[in-house]
Amino acid sequence: MEVVLVFVSAALVNNFVLSRSLGICPFIGVSKRLDTSLGMGLAVTLVMAFASAITHIVYNGILVPLGLEFLHIIAFVLITACLVQVVEMYLKKNAPNLYKALGIFLPLITTNCAVLGALLLNIELFSGSIVLAMVHAVGAAAGFTLALVLFSGIRERLNYSPVPKLFEGVPIAMIVAGLMSIAFLGFTGMINL
């Protein structure tokens, strides 16, 4: 039961993009087409799931016993960077079209604050259980994907709408995101962890 609660809470109630304001760069940058958003979401999910397991082991198994907690930022970033490299090589070989479509945003997953944010929240909230930490990360990634896909759907429609000149590009995207964020406020208080 707790597993379900953690997942729903990370995906909907505390949606990373719309409630925690994490991962805005790919949200604004990538999500211009539906299929690339989905691909991006899947890549982030993969990286996040593995990264949260590995960082959990490294943090509790190496850093804490040695009293080196202050090194966690460097350690987490390096682990993420290595994983992104692996995912990149895998996609390049097995899904070259997706690899091309994601372009620069694929290596930038390393610096996606949603990924590092999830890892940092994991040690704050779920340092006791590797399963909950992974569920939290996958839930967060699912919420990120959901926001990205919804947003890209709206943006495809925006292309055909008469947007005032001054609002073109980032401003209208911000306002759309704001409205979506209001919608997600509806989930507030549904689950209190």
Binding site: L18, I73, L78, N112, L120, E124, M174, I175, G178, L185
Partner: protein, 198 residues
Amino acid sequence: MIKALVRFKKGILDENPIFSQAIALCPVLAVTTTVNNGIGLGVATLSVLFASAMVVCFIRRFISDRVRIPCFIVISATFTTVVQLLMEAFLPALNDSLGIFIPLIVVNCLILARMESFAAKNPPLTVAFDSLGMGLGFTLALTLIGAVREVMGFGTVFGITVIPEAIPRNILMILPPGGFFVLGFLIVGLRALKRKGA
């Protein structure tokens, strides 16, 4: 020297990281519920940016081109750790309200972008002014957004009441949606000003 000063001004105005380039938006939206938070995170980011850019500038000859990105990340992670430890020690209240956004400075796109596109290619003086300008531009943007949201959401600036109690506060402004709206409309406003000036 003149070129350095031009870079400094560019970072604050023409190429303002938030308003013109629209990068590094996550911390901008998340922490700018008050002016204090805005300035706090702005200055923290500025220090990490400046220190990392200078280090990259001085040791770039020894970094192989292939591993430069991991090196840049380790450098900025080091300074982020330093800033976080300093804030924990000397500004615990601010550290608490900024939460995970202090460690997240390490993945701030602005810092990596400046290291990659500027600090790795230019002489030290220009790099110093460039990173100071970009950092200040970032800080100003955070402060401005923080001020707008604090005034509209709490009716205060720096915690001092500026709007009479009788006028209702708009609580939405300090919730996540407010960040999106304020940033969107500020960009529109600045575009309008620029167009008028041009």
